[in-house]
């Protein structure tokens, strides 16, 4: 084991290398590109024995990834944002093939408007695809989760592809000290990929992914995939425990931070939870019993653990770094459905939308969210979902709009109007 300063992207690349990945279909997209560049360099310099192929799109990249995994080699791939959406048809398809591999997603907001900065709307769009999802908050976690993800994906009870998610910029380009397991020990932990019957061999022909006629076989295979995803809850706990035994780092499906004796809890995913932790400490210093739950596992959704951990709490502030248009925060909706009708479930679940397109969340805002939630508990009225957005920001956007307007008028006044546009 050695310590290195690594970016989140570097940690993802090391994860793929330590897992002895055989095959890497790739396609560049910011902020993921550093991952495939690192892997390509290692392969070119002989530090890693694998094959990297740049496809002509993410749609093709995921097709090749699934096809190679279905032929019996260990596959890694990485993408982000528009790339994940471009591949969407194939995400659903290859999970139906039950082709296990690991896909790193460096999450980034979606167009339009186009942005390079982070939020979770991209990865949430893949939540029903059949890929399992592990969300990371630190660079160490990115590396550890990649190793854990291979065990999870390849387990005979699961056999599904896994997305390991890290936040663009906040994690992808941030350097943190990371404990690097020895190659040999990592290899032992991940084990060999035994494709069993999911493979193509001349001596044992198989047909994979064939059509079905009628709803009955279709329902059967789809539900079987769902059950496999649910098996991953148990398998995850087993694998995480074994990981802890070997490497001394425990990564629970839900990270708990000062939550035991808290009456108000923040619930949020990803690297911004680090900011929530700092806020929790400050809130505690000010005498408020506030804590944090951070789900690492989003698919399968750890429903029972949430029911258990949130049981008896007074109020929950769910902070979603994603937005489902016309509905609101995805995690808030999922948590509500996990808790609804459950004895002991907290009565107050307040929804906040924050951190879209990389917008920061300040500790004042965490204080405010705690206060809003406490008020809701006291008054017994849950407020409508709120976007974290302050007056200064609003003033700034109004200024930009004013500039745009005046520029347009300027252009309009100075240019000869083309005849077709006369009114």
């Amino acid at each position: 084991m050695k310590r290195m300063l690594l970016t989140g992207n570097g940690a993802a690349a090391w994860g793929a290398r330590l897992a002895a990945t055989d095959y890497i279909p790739a396609f560049p997209i910011t902020p993921q590109t550093e991952i495939i560049e690192a892997l390509a360099n290692w392969i070119d310099n002989g530090a890693m024995n694998a094959r990297l192929v740049t496809l002509e799109s993410e749609h093709s990249m995921i097709t090749a990834a699934g096809a190679a995994a279905a032929t019996g080699v260990r596959v890694f791939s990485a993408t982000s944002s528009q790339g994940l959406l471009y591949a969407m048809e194939m995400l659903y398809t290859v999970s139906g093939w039950r082709a296990p591999f690991v896909l790193t997603n460096v999450s980034r907001g979606l167009a339009a408007p186009i942005t390079l900065e982070s939020d979770h709307t991209d990865v949430m769009a893949a939540r029903d695809s059949g890929f399992l999802q592990i969300h990371c908050a630190t660079c160490q976690e990115v590396l550890d989760s990649t190793l854990i993800a291979y065990r999870l994906a390849e387990d005979a009870r699961v056999r599904l592809p896994v997305i390991v998610n890290l936040d663009g910029f906040y994690l992808s380009f941030t350097r943190e000290p990371v404990q690097l397991p020895d190659q040999q020990i990592a290899k032992e932990f991940v084990g060999r990929y035994d494709a069993e019957n999911i493979r193509f061999r001349a001596s044992a022909p198989v047909s994979q992914a064939v059509a079905v006629l009628g709803g009955s076989p279709y329902s059967y295979f789809r539900y079987e995939t769902h059950l496999a995803a649910q098996n991953a809850l148990l398998v995850y706990d087993e694998v995480a425990a074994e990981f802890n035994q070997r490497f001394g780092r425990q990564h629970n499906a839900i990270e708990e931070y000062r939550s035991d004796d808290a009456d108000i809890l923040f619930v949020m995913m990803g690297s911004f939870a680090t900011k929530a932790k700092e806020a929790v400490d400050l809130l505690r210093d000010s005498g408020q019993a506030v804590g944090l739950l951070r789900p690492r596992l989003i698919r399968p959704f750890p429903t029972q653990s949430f029911q258990h951990l949130l049981g008896g709490k007074k109020g929950i502030a769910v902070i979603d770094q994603n937005l489902s248009m016309g509905m609101g925060g995805v995690l808030h909706a999922e948590l509500s459905s996990a808790l609804y009708g459950h004895a002991n479930a907290p009565a107050t679940l307040v929804s906040f939308i924050g951190g879209l397109g990389g917008r920061d969340i300040s500790s004042e805002e965490f204080f405010e969210m705690a206060a809003v939630t406490r008020r809701a508990v006291d008054e017994g009225v849950t407020p409508a979902p709120r976007l974290l957005y302050n007056e200064t920001e609003l003033r700034e956007i109004r200024k930009l709009q004013a500039v745009a307007q005046s520029e347009r008028e300027e252009l309009h006044n100075s240019a000869d109007k083309p005849s077709g546009e006369q009114q």
């Binding site: 279909p25 002509e56 097709t63 080699v73 048809e89 001349a202 047909s207």
Partner: protein, 308 residues
């Protein structure tokens, strides 16, 4: 016909007499695509994995049945060549690491319709050729999106009636020259074939089988359902496609295009057009000489400079 010395298929009786592809598939009676596939499969054999894109042929393998003795993977409409890339690369890795024996290797074959080949899948096909993927691509060209009810595609010929070109002049566009587009990538091999010329087809598939790199085949696939004619006419229509010069049989190799069968005394294209419902509007209620002549002129201009 040019005689390729290395072929084992010199006359009709050299063609395989045992047929490998199972019968009883849900393809239409008289399907020219299936006819070509039967002949192709007899030569490629069961040491193969077919990577399929959405289209009529997707219904060859419906759980739990398949007519193939070898393997099959259905992908999606756009990315069968990328599926071939994944399978080929994985097999190469397994062979290289000696995790499988050499006998376990297979020919990786992409099977798509024209809609996928000429349109949605063109980018993934281009990518596969540019990476010099070792694979065989079979496009059965029924000149439309057959599986969804024969809407026009990039392969639909000028003036043909389809479910999205029902006007008096039929399809206003022109059939895309996929052969040249593929050949411009300089792959190992490109060829056109048709099931009604089995010897020419066998020679080309056999030749392709013995090469490495991208080997690209377009099979014109007379389609009674989409072209609107009686299934029993399929063979005649296929033969007419070649004899009228509508479907040139040719191959590309080492930067050169060679015509493998130059029709002597080409028949008028109207003989081909007349027997298909999709061109009936050229003849009824009254003859559209202008359009028929234009179609003839296009074929004539194609053949003008082509000699043995």
């Amino acid at each position: 016909m040019t005689d390729t010395a290395e072929t084992i298929f010199k006359r009709l009786r050299d063609l395989p007499s045992t047929h490998l592809l199972g019968t009883g598939t849900p393809m239409c009676a008289g399907c020219g695509g299936l006819q070509a596939l039967h002949q192709i499969y007899d030569i490629i054999g069961e040491k193969s994995v077919f990577i399929n894109a959405a289209g009529c042929m997707t219904l060859l393998s419906v759980f739990p049945f398949t007519p193939f003795r070898g393997s099959w993977l259905y992908t999606a409409m756009a990315s069968a060549p990328a599926g071939a890339q994944g399978v080929r690369d994985a097999l190469d890795i397994l062979l290289q690491q000696q995790r499988i024996a050499a006998e376990e290797d297979m020919e990786v074959v992409v099977l798509t319709g024209d809609g996928a080949a000429y349109g949605m899948g063109l980018s993934s096909t281009s990518g596969a050729m540019e990476r010099d993927l070792d694979f065989l691509y079979i496009c059965y060209d029924n000149e439309g999106y057959g599986n969804t009810g024969q809407q026009y595609s990039g392969a639909t010929p000028h003036a043909a009636l389809t479910s999205t070109s029902k006007g008096p002049r039929g399809f206003s566009g022109f059939k895309k020259d996929l052969f040249s587009i593929w050949a411009a990538h300089e792959p190992a091999y490109v060829a056109t074939v048709i099931g009604t010329e089995p010897l020419d087809l066998a020679r080309k598939i056999d030749k392709a089988r013995n090469m490495t790199g991208p080997r690209m085949i377009i099979a014109l696939a007379p389609c009674p359902t989409g072209w609107d004619y009686d299934p029993k006419q399929s063979v005649d229509i296929g033969k007419l496609a070649v004899r009228t010069g509508i479907w040139p049989l040719k191959e590309y190799e080492n930067g050169k295009v060679v015509h493998t069968k130059i029709p002597k005394q080409r028949k008028p294209v109207e003989e081909y057009l007349q027997c298909q419902g999709r061109f009936r509007h050229l003849f009824e209620p009254q003859r559209n000489d202008e359009l028929i002549d234009a179609l003839q002129a296009k074929v004539d201009s194609y053949w003008r400079d082509i000699t043995e």
